[in-house]
């Protein structure tokens, strides 16, 4: 496995030695009738990079991924994937992509191993080559012992692992993952992150969508935040936190009914203050100082939590706290 994947991710890229970005998008737009799902977004993904689309449901992440995956034509703009045009070269591009869709699309009547073998055949691999790669991938996905089991009877986490293994059968140059861990329990998510991290270390270029901030922080070198079909911010997780939040966040919880009486008493305690129904958030680089300042004003919160700012704070600031749908 190590050998084959390393070979796949090495700079030699077969037919077209693309020195530029693996994905190049300018003004990329997708419309469905009246609805604009993706509204003129610009981004590039470099070889070896882990790139994330972050955003609430309905922000346009999946539509963007389907255009990159050459299964949904763009409505306007420029898009190049692996240096080729998705409209003219769809099958040639798809031959070098690995795709993990949001919904599982496995053959549930077939066994784990049969799913891998057949999928390899779609890429034109010989049966012998499919068998060799299937065994390596079963090992990588920790499914060797389940190789002969029918997919129908497997857990959600195992199906996801199989879907990821399947997406690697053609040793792709670019792996597209649409919400790879949505709906999984924490154990299954961590196992998947571990596997994806290994791929990343081997130099496989990952593009993923997620609305889990911890997933984005774990896996993405760089990400864009999408909201209402547009990109609203771009950068590394650390850059985004520095730009859109403070180093620390202090959460104050008051006894029932107290928070409503605090008008005018919070101003100036921090760079930015957010009042949620159940607690007050103080955005300040020094959380302890903010707590001291609050106590000095005679405020008596029931609980105080000082924590490091996370991508979630950035996300909520940029995309708002109201539900998207």
């Amino acid at each position: 496995m190590t050998e084959t994947l390393a070979a796949a991710s090495a700079p030699e890229v077969g037919a077209s030695p693309a020195p530029g970005p693996l994905i190049h998008a300018r003004g990329l737009t997708k419309r469905f009738g009246e609805l604009t799902a993706v509204d003129a977004i610009d981004f590039d993904v470099a070889p070896g990079e882990s790139f994330g689309f972050l955003g609430p449901n309905g922000a346009g992440k999946t539509s963007a991924m389907r255009m990159i995956g050459c299964v949904s034509p763009m409505s306007a703009g420029t898009l190049q994937v692996l240096g080729m045009d998705p409209i003219a070269d769809g099958p040639r591009i798809r031959a070098r992509l690995g795709v993990v869709p949001q919904q599982d699309t496995l053959d549930t009547e077939l066994t784990v191993r049969e799913n891998l073998l057949l999928y390899g055949r779609y890429f034109g691999l010989s049966r012998a080559e499919c068998a060799k790669r299937a065994d390596e991938l079963l090992d990588f996905a920790q499914l060797t012992e389940r190789a002969g089991d029918q997919v129908e009877h497997m857990s959600g986490g195992m199906k996801r692992r199989l879907t990821i293994a399947r997406s690697l059968i053609n040793e792709p140059d670019l792996l597209l993952l649409d919400e790879p861990t949505t709906g999984l329990d924490p154990q299954a998510r961590h196992l998947l992150w571990d596997r994806l991290y290994r791929l990343k270390q081997r130099g496989v270029t990952l593009v993923l969508t997620t609305h889990y901030m911890d997933e984005a922080e774990q896996l993405c070198d760089r990400l864009v935040v999408m909201d209402k079909a547009k990109i609203v911010a771009e950068g590394s997780p650390r850059e985004l936190i520095e730009r859109y939040s403070t180093r620390e966040v202090t959460e104050l919880r008051f006894a029932a009914g107290v928070q409503e009486t605090l008008d005018g008493q919070l101003e100036g305690l921090a760079e930015r203050i957010e009042r949620l129904p159940d607690r007050v958030l103080l955005y300040a680089d020094d959380g302890e100082a903010a707590v001291a300042a609050a106590h000095a004003r005679g405020l008596e919160p029931e609980t105080v939590l000082v924590r490091r700012s996370s991508l979630e704070d950035v996300f909520l600031r940029l995309t708002g706290r109201s539900l998207a749908d």
Binding site: G14, V71, R96, P101, L110, G124, N170
Partner: protein
């Protein structure tokens, strides 16, 4: 990764159906033999004994008259099934066609690979049926061999347009209507069990609108060895052309609608 020159997306899609089929191969082959045996025994021998007493078919035994009709009608039923539920499964339920579409396989490969599979499956069903007919002594001409491809083409004349329709559906509700108001009435009124000429003169032209009638006339002419007289060669070619017309038009729409469905996601 460059694709091998011999790469055939249609072949890969066909292979997928074959692998699935081999899972239930034995049960399927068993029922492929059982269906003609049951029908030919009950209707051909049982009912036939009464019909033959009247000499109403001009010297031809009812069994020999019925057998090619059932052969073609069975292919129609198999085709209607293969073109509905498996297509919906791939596009809606398991979504495996979307998984294929993420590879070098194209939408047209998925449509044509499935139709090619249906043709193969129909050939298998028709061959088994024809063997049973011969074993029953119900074929009066060696031309029965040619009734096999005729039955397959008749099946495809249904499969292609039905597959196109199936690609537009999100639930299988309307499939029941296809069987109830399409397949079953055709089975009963297209000349499988009695000559269409026995029906009232006003409804007889309706038979011409369906592929089943044309397939049965051809298969019966071959199995009874009357082709050249009934139907005449020019008429036989017209029947054949109508079947091919259904297949070509149906395939065109199946490719378009299945491709469109894959793009929509």
């Amino acid at each position: 990764m460059a694709l091998a020159p011999a790469y055939s997306g249609i072949g890969r899609v066909f292979e997928h159906r074959l692998v699935l089929y081999l899972k239930t191969f034995r049960a399927s082959i068993f029922s492929s033999f059982l269906t003609p045996i049951l029908f030919l025994t009950a209707m051909g021998l049982g009912l036939g004994a009464y019909v033959d007493a009247n000499q109403s078919l001009g010297g031809v035994s009812y069994l020999a008259f019925l057998a090619p009709g059932l052969l073609v009608a069975t292919c129609m039923q198999v085709a209607a099934f293969e073109a509905t539920f498996p297509i919906m499964a791939g596009l809606v339920w398991s979504r495996v066609y979307h998984a294929m579409y993420a590879t070098p396989i194209r939408g047209s490969d998925i449509a044509l690979g499935n139709l090619a599979w249906m043709g193969f499956r129909l050939l298998l069903v028709a061959s088994i049926f024809a063997i049973v007919i011969v074993l029953f002594g119900a074929a009066t001409s060696p031309l029965i061999v040619l009734a096999i491809p005729v039955a397959m083409l008749t099946g495809l004349a249904f499969a292609a347009p039905i597959a196109a329709f199936a690609a537009t559906q999100r639930t299988p509700e309307k499939f029941a209507a296809i069987f109830r108001f399409g397949i079953t009435p055709l089975f009963l009124f297209s000349g499988t069990f009695y000559p269409v000429e026995s029906l009232p003169a006003i409804v007889q032209p309706l038979a011409w609108l369906t592929p089943l009638y044309h397939g049965i006339v051809l298969a019966r002419g071959l199995s009874l060895g009357t082709i050249g007289v009934s139907p005449t060669i020019p008429l036989a070619l017209v029947h054949l052309a109508i079947l091919l017309g259904f297949i070509v038009v149906g395939t065109f729409f199946a490719v378009r609608l299945i491709s469109a469905r894959l793009v929509r996601g």
